[in-house]
């Protein structure tokens, strides 16, 4: 199991460093007549958890491929830690890493051998391998071929591999896919911990609750265009209903409009009469926001 100290959501909401880690300006990528990424701009600060949400084919992977130096932009520019992704690619690679969507491990190699290979590639000491195996709870399984690992174990090894170079910027592509709820929770705690340690996290996920729970900033991409970007709370407030559901003593649920003076008086009366059991915000979820903006759910 992933061993991290639990991180409360209030801690997560701490403001990231003001230093810009990713600065994307009018970035586009065309494949023939198809605009995979269409003139997007955004910034991500150091230590920020940034979630990139969109349908399959919306342009998420193409954006990540450009930011990780595997694909050249057709137009526009982007910097990582102030370095240009095209001209200073070789300087950027040692400070970033990726947990890919596919569990691309060397299955005939042991878990340890997988990590040792990448430790050698990044010039990391072998001691780092031991630290990471312990951190992701795979010390005992480290001598087994990874083809014998469960999906969760493989995911933890992938995370250990991505941390081998102590990256300043970590790209996580659907990191909790295939994980059981407990492992997902541990991974989310780990992501929060990385953020606390000033590691910037660029996350793509289909799980809106995960993005809502983890992210400082959420960006929605649809058909290659960036259609919304803000903190989860702001997005929900801007696009959700401004209402609340009030559960009363008689177990009835009353919906009140938070802008309506009459509803405000009704709420006051219920409270004075001691009839209110619970009040639930109806600000909406990120899923609602996404459907409203993109027209359909993820």
């Amino acid at each position: 199991m992933i061993q991290t100290s639990p991180v409360e959501s209030e801690q997560r909401s701490t403001t990231p460093d003001s230093e810009v880690m990713i600065d994307v300006r009018n970035l586009s990528k065309r494949f023939g007549d198809i605009k995979a990424v269409d003139n997007i701009s955004f910034t991500v600060h150091r230590g920020e958890i940034f979630s990139f949400l969109g349908h399959n084919g919306a342009g998420k992977t193409t954006t990540i491929r450009m930011l990780t130096g595997r694909s050249r932009p057709t137009s526009g520019s982007a910097t990582i830690a102030g370095m240009d992704i095209v001209t200073q690619r070789d300087d950027i690679l040692p400070i970033i890493n990726v947990v890919p969507e596919d569990q691309n491990l060397y299955e005939r190699l042991t878990g340890r051998a997988n990590l040792e290979l990448f430790a050698d590639l990044y010039g990391a000491p072998r001691q780092r391998v031991d630290e990471l195996l312990e951190r992701v709870g795979l010390e005992e399984a480290s001598k087994r071929a990874t083809k014998t690992y469960s999906s969760g174990m493989k995911q933890r090894l992938l995370i250990a591999r991505a941390l081998i170079n102590k990256p300043e910027l970590l790209f996580l592509d659907e990191p909790t896919r295939g994980l059981d709820p407990a492992s997902s929770k541990e991974l989310r705690d780990m992501i929060n911990e990385l953020s606390q340690q000033n590691t910037t996290v660029f996350l793509t996920t289909h799980l809106m609750e995960e993005a809502d729970d983890l992210s400082h900033t959420v960006a929605f991409i649809s058909a290659g265009k960036l259609v919304a970007i803000d903190s989860p709370r702001e997005l929900k407030l801007r696009h959700g209903e401004r209402s609340a559901a009030v559960l009363l003593e008689d177990r009835s649920e009353q919906v009140i409009d938070l802008h309506d003076a009459a509803d405000a008086r009704r709420l006051q009366e219920w409270m004075e009469a001691g009839q209110v059991l619970a009040i639930h915000s109806r600000e909406g979820t990120l899923e609602d926001v996404f459907i409203e903006i993109a027209g359909r759910s993820l």
């Binding site: 130096g69 694909s71 990726v98 890919p100 691309n104 060397y106 050698d120 590639l121 010039g123 170079n165």
Partner: protein, 364 residues
């Protein structure tokens, strides 16, 4: 594209031991190795002598045995006695013999008495019978029986052999060595065209290539794979030389030929590895691709020069085989080996130019 030897070394060490755990790669190494050992055990170094049968009238003459002894270095002569001239003719008509000797009664005695006895030579109208050799030898043996000194001490040698014609190739090299060398070329072919591309295609298929190229360049990866292929090749050829107890008489020609062929085929293999979507797909089609690549190794020495022969000449394995044959024998069995070097060099340039072009386009 910058080279990073730390990356190349890390990937090389990983592949060197990981790749042979893949059954497809292991088979690509073991099969030609096994074939070479098989040929080594099956054939010996003696040149196979042509066998001819001579049927003769049994009249107590020593001529047949003397003839057999005189030809023992070149033809394995089988003697078959007959009771009469008619029987000799019948045996020839039945194609059970290549030559008939009609020896009259008292042939040896008449010969010694200088009475010029009659001697009939009958030949079957057939294929492959060395008529000139047999008839010439009869004349020689009869002179020996009479005691006439041979006018000259004749020696026969093939000078400036035509490029790899069968008899000179096998005479100078031996069937065992020829086929073991051909199997070595097959080993180089399977490593270059099958094992190396499978290693690369598997990286792409399993998407481990994406993880590697996050820190290493494609060039680092490709060079590491090429070095793995050349290491397998070196170990394989070295082991085969040791097990077959063969050592090239001209190591420079032999090893330079093997190395150039290996470099060329590994280059094409790496190109091939990028064309197939999966290692299994490549493994399935690999046999078809391999066949025209390695077949010249087995026929380059015996194929008559014609249009098809010229096509074979253009295939790198044919030239690698020529250099290996000359290097192993230490003789110029194949003439003009600089052409072989030139053809291999051209293939190397083509393979790696195409590879560099392909790598330069990957990031776009």
């Amino acid at each position: 594209m910058n080279l990073n030897w730390r990356n190349i070394n890390a990937i090389y060490r990983k592949d060197l031991f990981d790749a042979i755990k893949d059954a497809r790669v292991l088979l690509a190494l073991i099969v030609p190795f096994g074939i070479a050992i098989f040929y080594n055990v099956m054939f010996d170094d003696e040149e196979p002598m042509q066998e001819s049968t001579v049927v003769y009238t049994e009249v107590g003459s020593t001529l047949p045995e003397r003839l057999q002894e005189a030809l023992s270095d070149t033809i394995d002569l089988v003697l078959e006695p007959a009771d009469s001239e008619d029987e000799v003719r019948q045996v020839l008509e039945d194609e059970d013999a290549d030559m008939g000797l009609i020896i009259p009664e008292g042939f040896d005695e008449d010969l010694m008495d200088e009475q010029t006895p009659a001697l009939g030579l009958l030949f079957r109208d057939g294929d492959g019978v060395p008529i000139n050799t047999l008839s010439g030898s009869v004349d020689l043996v009869v002179r020996q029986m009479v005691g006439t000194p041979e006018p000259v001490a004749l020696s026969v040698e093939m000078v400036a052999p035509p490029d790899g014609t069968g008899p000179s190739l096998f005479t100078d090299l031996g069937i065992r060595v020829y086929f073991v060398l051909a199997s070595m070329m097959m080993l180089i072919g399977t490593i270059g065209i099958l094992a190396v591309p499978i290693i690369l295609a598997e990286e792409a298929e399993k998407k481990t290539l994406e993880a590697l190229t996050l820190i290493a360049s494609y060039l680092d990866v490709v060079i590491a794979k090429a070095l793995v292929g050349l290491t397998y090749l070196g170990v394989g050829i070295g082991l085969l030389l040791a097990l077959t107890q063969m050592w090239p008489a001209d190591p420079l020609i032999f090893f330079s030929g093997v190395l150039m062929l290996g470099v060329a085929l590994v280059g094409f293999g790496l190109l091939l590895g990028g064309l197939f979507k999966s290692a299994n797909q490549l493994n399935n089609w690999g046999g078809l691709i391999l066949l025209p690549v390695i077949a010249p190794a087995f026929i380059v020495g015996v194929w008559e020069p014609d249009v098809f022969g010229y096509v074979i000449e253009a295939i790198p394995v044919a030239q690698g085989m020529k250099l290996a044959v000359n290097g192993m024998s230490g003789e110029a069995i194949f003439a003009n080996i600089w052409i072989s070097y030139a053809i291999l060099a051209v293939w190397i340039v083509i393979a790696y130019a195409a590879l560099v072009f392909r790598l330069s386009r990957i990031r776009n």
